[in-house]
Symmetry: C2
Amino acid sequence: TTRYIAIVNQKGGVGKTTTAVNLATALSAMGKKVCLIDFDAQGNASTGLGVRRSELKASSYDLLFGEESFESLVMQTKIPNLDIVPSSIHLSGAEIELVDKEHREYVLRNKISASTRYDYIIMDCPPSLTLLTLNVLVAVQSLIVPLQCEFFALEGLSHLTKTINRVRKLYNPDLEIQGVVLTMYDRRNNLSAQVEKDVRDHFGDIVYQTVIPRNVRLSEAPSYGLPAIVYDMKSTGAKAYIKFAGEVIRREKEQ
Amino acid sequence: TTRYIAIVNQKGGVGKTTTAVNLATALSAMGKKVCLIDFDAQGNASTGLGVRRSELKASSYDLLFGEESFESLVMQTKIPNLDIVPSSIHLSGAEIELVDKEHREYVLRNKISASTRYDYIIMDCPPSLTLLTLNVLVAVQSLIVPLQCEFFALEGLSHLTKTINRVRKLYNPDLEIQGVVLTMYDRRNNLSAQVEKDVRDHFGDIVYQTVIPRNVRLSEAPSYGLPAIVYDMKSTGAKAYIKFAGEVIRREKEQ
Ligand SMILES: Nc1ncnc2c1ncn2[C@@H]1O[C@H](COP(=O)(O)OP(=O)(O)OP(=O)(O)O)[C@@H](O)[C@H]1O
Ligand SMILES: Nc1ncnc2c1ncn2[C@@H]1O[C@H](COP(=O)(O)OP(=O)(O)OP(=O)(O)O)[C@@H](O)[C@H]1O
Ligand SMILES: [Mg+2]
Ligand SMILES: [Mg+2]
């Protein structure tokens, strides 16, 4: 069956999109069939995979509110084995449209099926814990939390874990945190080392061994519409994401 | 009369809170009476000014939904001339509570008055353009947009300016962009220089001359509950924010 994984953290700018795009690309490079769904109205994951907003016919907005099936909304990307359901600016109105729907937390879950032709479906989320992100948390089996090695990033964790526990209790008993991945680790300052120590003490084995370093190639790649793994495979950022994808698969096998 | 300024950008992690906290502190150090209102459920601006969540009696949630007046919700900070209305976790439910209210875009505007004992009221916003941020845009006279020197940060600008134009047309004819401030500028990579050039070409004089460099002291300061300009006044980050506050005041005088 298909593994559905959400990339979630309400704190902004922590590397959700960069993780979603590069993890999806690395998994597809290993021969897995992957689809990325971009649920952020900003559309950074779509841009990061070369989708031009002007080309858009259908989007993740239609997945939530339209009649089309998931399969009919999928587009190919330049990367073999990797498809995308791109975002659309209409998602910024999703919150207000979801509030009045019946079973408003299950809208997405009712649109996706247990098994598709994909091995992985990765969902990029916006920086918030509103009804849209809630819909994603109800629809998936697990989530990966990118955690920036900064003080403010630590602050939001307890709110996130409380929300996940609530979703598990009320809507989706299968939901689990597949892992926490440390991002933008900067060897030049003590803050990163301090945050890493705090996070590993607090979360233990849930934290992946692989740490993603701060690396400019990761932030240059989107301006070329390419994942860093394709734009500059030999960069420290790309290598870290390839190693990370390996660890994600290895851990899944062990469980 | 009081100047109301919102710090807004729906892109996450671009330095909204860091700008709100350090601008408010620099203005208060120049003898202005300042109040910061934290409208982000994450509460980073509150933490950055030393407010402990456990101490909270009242918050910006009460300003929106309670009967209390603005004056009664204000707390002192450790910084002279700088008060705060802290955030609360209940703000994460604000969206759903605002949707069904009458005149839902004017809830905040109807709670604040034209003149208070403050020279400036600075409002920190969450990384979204939902009803909560809309309420702030309707209530203020102007906004400052922190813009991270990264490719993804450029993408969101057209959506932000469209939203501002819509708010100006439908709800708040006075609303103007007071300025755009470039943040996390990294001299070590070309990306920052490229983004700066694009932004100045596109926005012209609206962009402040002062550019905030990437500086670890800015991200260390919140773990001590202090603004960087108090935590380490001689750091390049603190100096940049002091210079920035001077430019903000100078520009206001010229207009
Ligand atoms: N390891 C890294 N090293 C350097 N830059 C990075 C790294 N990871 C991400 N970035 C850059 O930092 C910025 C924030 O990352 P990204 O957009 O992926 O975060 P996000 O959590 O998806 O943000 P949002 O909350 O707005 O959705 C982007 O400009 C991105 O290119
Ligand atoms: N100039 C800077 N140099 C280094 N670090 C910075 C700088 N400005 C902000 N930071 C750090 O980068 C992170 C993001 O900044 P900040 O939290 O202020 O952004 P934000 O836009 O308020 O985020 P959010 O979208 O989550 O509200 C924080 O950990 C902060 O400490
Ligand atoms: Mg993102
Ligand atoms: Mg913030």
